[in-house]
Symmetry: C2
C-alpha cells in the first residue's frame, strides 16, 4: 500500500464507524441528572468546600472502585501530589515514573521536591514493563535500612507510579511484587482508568494509594476534579486533613498544624460528578462497543492495529488507540495532519518525559520501547456518544 | 458594666440589626443568573478548562478591578502561589507577610520553597504597618546588587505581601514606597477585598501582581476559585502558561517547556462567577448598609468598636468586625461562645502565623500590635442578604 492510500484507509476506517461530521477526541456528555443536582446544589447554597455532594461523590467512588476510602480533590494533579506525600516522598527522593505518561505524573513528583526517574514501557500493556524494571533495579540499586538506594545517585527511590495508559491496566502483579521486594511504595496513577479492572479488581486500588482524574476529557467529568483512593483509614484521614489546609477541628479557632493545601473539591463540582457517575456503566458499555466496531474496521488493514485490553483485564477504553507497525511510524504525522484537517480529532502519545526541558537531566533506564511506542501511537475519536450519534 | 451584661449587650446589638434566627458568618446567595449560566455551560458541554465563561469572567474582573489583565485559577491559594513565582520568589528567599493573616498567605510562600518573614499590623487599617516596617527594614537589611538582604539571615527579601484584612485596604501608599525604596516586589493578597478601593483605585492593582479569592465565604463565589491581577501583559501571558501545565501551543503535540501547574479555573465555576459578579454592586450596597446599621447599634456600647473603612478608602466590608478595648480582651472567648451557642456565628481573627507549628521558627519583627489585635477582633454575621431578611 502506498502512503497516500494508507492514510486514506485509516481515515475511512474511522469514518465507517463514527459517520461523517466533526468528532472530538473525548467529549463530555450530560444526559443524566447533571442539571438536577447542580440546581439542588445551588438551592442548598453549599457550592464550596463543604456539602453533601462531596461526601456522596466520595462514597459512590468508593463503591465503584472498591477502595475503602476516597478523598475528592480539585484535580488529578493535586491527587497525585498528595498521594506521593502520603507515600512518604520527600525532597531529594527519586520516584519511578513511566517516560510515556502525561506531564502531571512528573510534575507531582517535582512538587514534592523529588526527582522523577524514568522507566520503560511494555508494548503489550503500554504501562511500565515490570520484568525490565525488576532487572534494572536488581542491577542498579541496593537495600539499606529498609530503603532502596540508587547506586549511581545515592538517593532513595521512594515510590513507583505506574500509569494505566489510555485506560489499559499495567502489569499490576509484576509491579506489586517489585514494590514489596524492593521496598518502594506503589502509587497508581489511575487518572485515565476509572472503570478499568485488573483481574477483577479496580485499578488504583492495588498500590498504597491510587489517584483518579475527572478533567473534561475523562470518562466522567466534574469540570475539574480528582480523587485519592486508599484502603488505609489513617492515610485517608491525613489526606483529607492536608487537602483542607491542615486545619484542626474547632468551632472558631484557626489552628493549622502543618503546611496544608487548598485542594478540596468544591461541592458544585461534586454535584456534577454524582450525576456523571450514575452514567458510568452506560458510558463503559458504549466505549467497549465503540472498540469492537473500530476493531472490525481496522482488522484487515495492514500496518496498524487497534490497542485492545490486556488479558484478564477489563479496560474502560478511555482512548481508542492505533498502534502503527514500525515500518509505518514515519506516516504518523501525515495521519495526524490529515485526520485533524478533515474534522477527526486525533493525537499522538505524549512527548516522552525525558525529552521535556524541565526533565531532560533526570535519571532514566533504557527507554527503547517507550521511544518506539511514542512514535507509533495515535488516539482516535473515543467519546461514548459517537456510537449513539451514528446509530 | 459587668461581664455578663457586656456579653449580653453585644448579642443584643447584633440581634437588633439582623433579627432573630440563626445567622452564618458569610453565606453565598444565588438570586441572579446563576442557574441560567450554569445550564448554558452544561448545554455547551464546555465545563472544564476551556470555555467562554472563563474568558468572560476574566474580562469582567478586569473591568471591575481596573487591572489590565486577569488570569482565573482554581482558588486564592493557587493565585498567590503563582503570583509569588511571577514576582521572582525562589527557594530560600524571604517574603514579608503579615503575622495577622489566613494561613494561605504563608503556605503560598512555602510552596515556592521560600520562608515567610512576619511583620506587624497597624490597628487603624488592620493591614501591614508601613511606618514600622520601613524602620525595621532600614535597621535590619542592606541593599546589594539591587536586592534587599536580611542582615541576620543573609537571605534575599524578595517580596512583600500585604493582605487587605476583612476587606479594609492596607496603607498602600506607604507600602508601595517601601517596595520601591527597598527593591522588594509587592504582591497584594486581595482575597478578601473584591470591591474595595484605596484612593479610588481597586485593591490588588497597586502591586506587581494582586490576587483574589472566590471561596464559598467570599463576597462573590465560584464554589472554589481565584484570580491573578496584573497590569503586565508579559506576566499575564506567563501566568496563564504556567497555570495550564506550561504546554506550548500545538494542534497535537504535548510539549511542556517548564514545570507547570494544573491551576486553571473550570468553565463551570467561571459560569457561576459571571452571574455572581453581576450582583456585586448590589451586594456591596447591602454590605455597606449592614455596616451602618451595626455601627449605630454598637455606637453607644462601651468597650467595643466596629471596624470602619480607613480614610480615603472604600471597603467592601467583607467581614464586619468588632474590636474589643484592651480591657475587655479577656471577654473574647466568652463572647464567641455565647454568640455561637445562640445561633449567631462569630469568629476571632486567625491565630498569628508565628504561633502555628509549621511557621514557629520563621523570622519576624516585633509583633506587639498584631498580638494585641488577634486577641481583640471578632467577626460577626456579615452576609449581605441578612439585611433583606430583616427588612
Amino acid at each position: 500500500m502506498n502512503d497516500t492510500s494508507f492514510i486514506q484507509s485509516i481515515q475511512q476506517a474511522i469514518r465507517s464507524v463514527i459517520g461523517s461530521g466533526r468528532a472530538g477526541l473525548h467529549e463530555p456528555n450530560f444526559d443524566g441528572n447533571e442539571w438536577l443536582y447542580l440546581r439542588d446544589c445551588l438551592d442548598s447554597t453549599y457550592v464550596s468546600s463543604v456539602g453533601k455532594y462531596v461526601d456522596r461523590f466520595e462514597a459512590e467512588l468508593a463503591e465503584v472502585t472498591g477502595a475503602r476510602h476516597v478523598v475528592a480533590v480539585v484535580n488529578g494533579t493535586a491527587a497525585l501530589h498528595i498521594a506521593l506525600k502520603m507515600a512518604g516522598v520527600k525532597p531529594n527522593d527519586e520516584v519511578l515514573v513511566p517516560a510515556l505518561t502525561f506531564v502531571a505524573t512528573s510534575n507531582a513528583v517535582n512538587y514534592c521536591g523529588a526527582i522523577p526517574h524514568f522507566v520503560d514501557s511494555d508494548s503489550y500493556t503500554l504501562g511500565v514493563d515490570a520484568v525490565k524494571l525488576r532487572n534494572y533495579l536488581t542491577e542498579n540499586t541496593e537495600q539499606k535500612s529498609g530503603h532502596c538506594f540508587n547506586l549511581e545517585t545515592g538517593r532513595v527511590i521512594r515510590a513507583l507510579v505506574p500509569m494505566h495508559t489510555f485506560g489499559h491496566p499495567a502489569d499490576l502483579d509484576g509491579l506489586l511484587a517489585i514494590s514489596r521486594d524492593f521496598n518502594i511504595a506503589m502509587v497508581e496513577d489511575a487518572a485515565e482508568s476509572l472503570g478499568s479492572f485488573y483481574h477483577g479488581k479496580h485499578t488504583g486500588t492495588f498500590g498504597l494509594l491510587g489517584t483518579l482524574s475527572f478533567n473534561g476529557n475523562k470518562t466522567i467529568t466534574t469540570g475539574g476534579g480528582g480523587a485519592i483512593l486508599t484502603n488505609s483509614a489513617e492515610i485517608a484521614r491525613y489526606a483529607k486533613h492536608i487537602t483542607t489546609t491542615a486545619k484542626l477541628p474547632h468551632v472558631w479557632d484557626f489552628r493549622h498544624d502543618e503546611v496544608g493545601y487548598n485542594y478540596r473539591l468544591p461541592n458544585l463540582n461534586a454535584a456534577l460528578g454524582c450525576a456523571q457517575l450514575e452514567k458510568l456503566p452506560a458510558k463503559l458499555i458504549n466505549k467497549r462497543e465503540l472498540f469492537f466496531r473500530y476493531d472490525a474496521a481496522f482488522a484487515k488493514l495492514p500496518g496498524v492495529k487497534l490497542m485492545s485490553e490486556p488479558s484478564s483485564c477489563q479496560s474502560n477504553y478511555w482512548m481508542q488507540t492505533l498502534i502503527l507497525d514500525a515500518d509505518y511510524a514515519d506516516q504518523r504525522d501525515a495521519i495526524l495532519k490529515s485526520t485533524n484537517e478533515s474534522g477527526l480529532m486525533t493525537r499522538p502519545a505524549w512527548i516522552l518525559m525525558n525529552e521535556l526541558t524541565p526533565y531532560k537531566s533526570c535519571p532514566r533506564m533504557d527507554l527503547t520501547v517507550a521511544q518506539s511506542l511514542s512514535q507509533r501511537l495515535i488516539n482516535i475519536p473515543s467519546s461514548p456518544q459517537l456510537l449513539i450519534a451514528k446509530t
